[in-house]
Symmetry: C2
Subunit: 219 residues, 2 copies
């Protein structure tokens, strides 16, 4: 048995994780400056690991950096949003194209299990759980393409809109729609139908971009 120990991560890693959480919960709101001293104290670390973590998030576009002025939580413009979704369209299609012919039965089982997790979280009205389960569902598929760079880029693109996407799951009709679309995608995967899978993913994504756009413009 390969005991996968829960190694105590470094402070930097812990801070990265925690900052991501603060970003999706909106605890660090878009546009707000990052005060290092206060934030470091709040997280129980010094500013050094915090600054390393911020450099990572800067690379992902989650925060922006200005010399001697520090970091600001990124705001998503509509242009930026359009760009993110266009790139997702191109890259997700590629991921699916490569992944579907490689899908093992075990992959399908895992993906459908993740789909059930989304549904369960939806039933419970657990928005956070739904968000992570939804992400797992999609990235189980993307990762099956065995293209690590592609997966990483896609994760970055998803991260960029995570803050805004959570509102999507808030509407119960949206939730129903999601489950339906996941079922359609899963069906396409089971029959190893690349074209249908890409189409299903595209439709799914288009619904989400619409929701995020309204969330973004009506602020």
């Amino acid at each position: 048995m390969t005991a996968t120990f829960e190694r105590p991560p470094t402070a930097t890693e812990a801070v990265i994780t925690e900052l991501r959480r603060l970003l999706v919960t909106g605890d660090l709101a878009p546009g707000s400056p990052v005060r290092q001293e206060a934030l470091a104290e709040r997280l129980g670390v010094s500013r050094v690991p915090l600054r390393e973590a911020l450099k990572v998030l800067e690379g992902e576009g989650q925060v922006q950096y200005h010399r001697h002025r520090g970091y600001v939580v990124s705001e998503l413009s509509v242009d930026d949003l359009v760009e993110v979704y266009r790139m997702r369209e191109l890259l997700e299609a590629e991921a699916i194209r490569v992944a579907v012919p490689r899908l093992t039965d075990a992959d399908i089982v895992a993906i459908s299990s993740a789909s059930r997790d989304v549904d369960d979280a939806g039933q419970r009205g657990d928005l956070a759980g739904m968000t992570t389960a939804n992400r797992d569902f999609h990235f189980l598929l993307f990762d099956a393409a065995a293209m690590p760079r592609l997966s990483r880029m896609l994760r970055g693109l998803w991260d960029a809109t995570d803050v805004y996407r959570s509102v999507y799951f808030a509407g119960s009709d949206n939730r129903a729609c999601v489950m339906h679309e996941h079922a359609a995608l899963l069906d396409a995967l089971e029959s190893r139908d690349v074209r249908r899978a890409i189409a299903a993913q595209a439709e799914h994504r288009n619904h989400s971009v619409a929701a995020v756009t309204t969330a973004l413009t009506s602020r």
Copy 2:
């Protein structure tokens, strides 16, 4: 006149720039570990800005990080190379699709000027100059798409293979080929022909992937 002052950058920024240079020159060779103490001293800074710089390069995939074991300069596997070029294919096509209809005459002038710079550097046998001029040439086009995220990702993909690509310019027949292909691309741009531009870029890229692959496998 907008006096663009040469502001003294922060140590972290300077280190990032210098590390990039060390990476493309092979001074930091793929696979070699990064000894922070020695490197920091060599650059005349403390380890703090060096570590921040390394986190940035880690995000770009230029170095890899292992907890408590530090950073190692990334090695490009053939799989990785294939992935990089496949993603370039998808994203560069998109960039050109969007950019070409938006190209102003001034853009064309700038691009053709950059093309001349590549030629000049080629005549002089200035490999480093050719590399940067070549990069400028292509990114003038890509940036014209006005999709900053896309540009950034493309830059990352180019960076990942820069070390290996320099060998491409070493061969004088390759250099002639590059100039020829640049002319073809430029011609397509001048007639605002998206399809031909994408094709020219694709052929250009395919030549380079072939060269980089041999450089990678024959080591």
